[in-house]
Amino acid sequence: MDGTVDRESLRARLRDARVGIAGAGGLGSNCAAALARSGVGTLVVADFDTVSEGNLDRQFYFLDQVGRPKVEALAENLARIDPTVSVLPVIARLDADLAVELYSGCDLVIEAFDDAGAKAMLIEAMGTRLPAIPLVAASGLAGWGASGEMRVRRLGNLVLVGDESREACGNLPPMAPRVGIAAAMQANEALAILLGPMDGGQA
């Protein structure tokens, strides 16, 4: 690493960053935790849902939070990691207009929806209405094993993680390890966007 870039200056750059997170389920809650631990200063998290017992198999919530709005529970959990991280919880089902309104001031956005149609909606809205803001999306993370098939495609300001194939369904549920891999890859790509390439080369 460049000797002039010390740990403190990296933290300072992340502290100034504002990251939008669309969805606070398996991808969004775990990605938010990784970004908060990394020191990202502001997270704008939107989700309409409440925590259910069935979410605890992969999402960053606890049994005593069942029934509460996810974004509120997540803000509480992130504050227990680092109370200086500013979390702006938005209890809403995002549509294109609201996403553009919420995320127009962000340095980048994480697409963390469960539903493929919602993913497409956000990618189209960002790509056409906020094309200058990077979007890190995920597709294909259900099941288990096949860790090496999780990959990253960088298409300009759209970054896509996942295997682009394994769809969640009855006999192929989303499970903690692969969801966690995808969420960590999204957070990692977010850091690469915010900090630039690690070795002065390709991201």
Partner: protein, 67 residues
């Protein structure tokens, strides 16, 4: 004409082709596909009107549920 499709060279008939025709020529009929041409997102409602030409770069992303 030759375009770059998902990072690989692809030969297509004619001098230009609609985005929808390119997808069809590859047999890609998934319900949720995102298309970018030369880095710009092409909305689904524009797939018939928007054409690619020789030398263009087109990316198609298949979205599946899970998160």
């Amino acid at each position: 004409m030759t375009i770059t499709l998902n990072g690989e060279s692809a030969e297509l008939a004619g001098r230009e082709a609609a985005v929808r025709a390119v997808l069809a020529s590859k047999g890609w009929s998934f319900p949720l596909i995102i298309v970018k041409v030369n880095g710009n997102l092409v909305r689904r409602e524009d797939w018939d009107a928007f054409t690619v030409r020789d030398g263009d770069s087109m990316e198609a992303i298949h979205l599946v549920s899970g998160g």
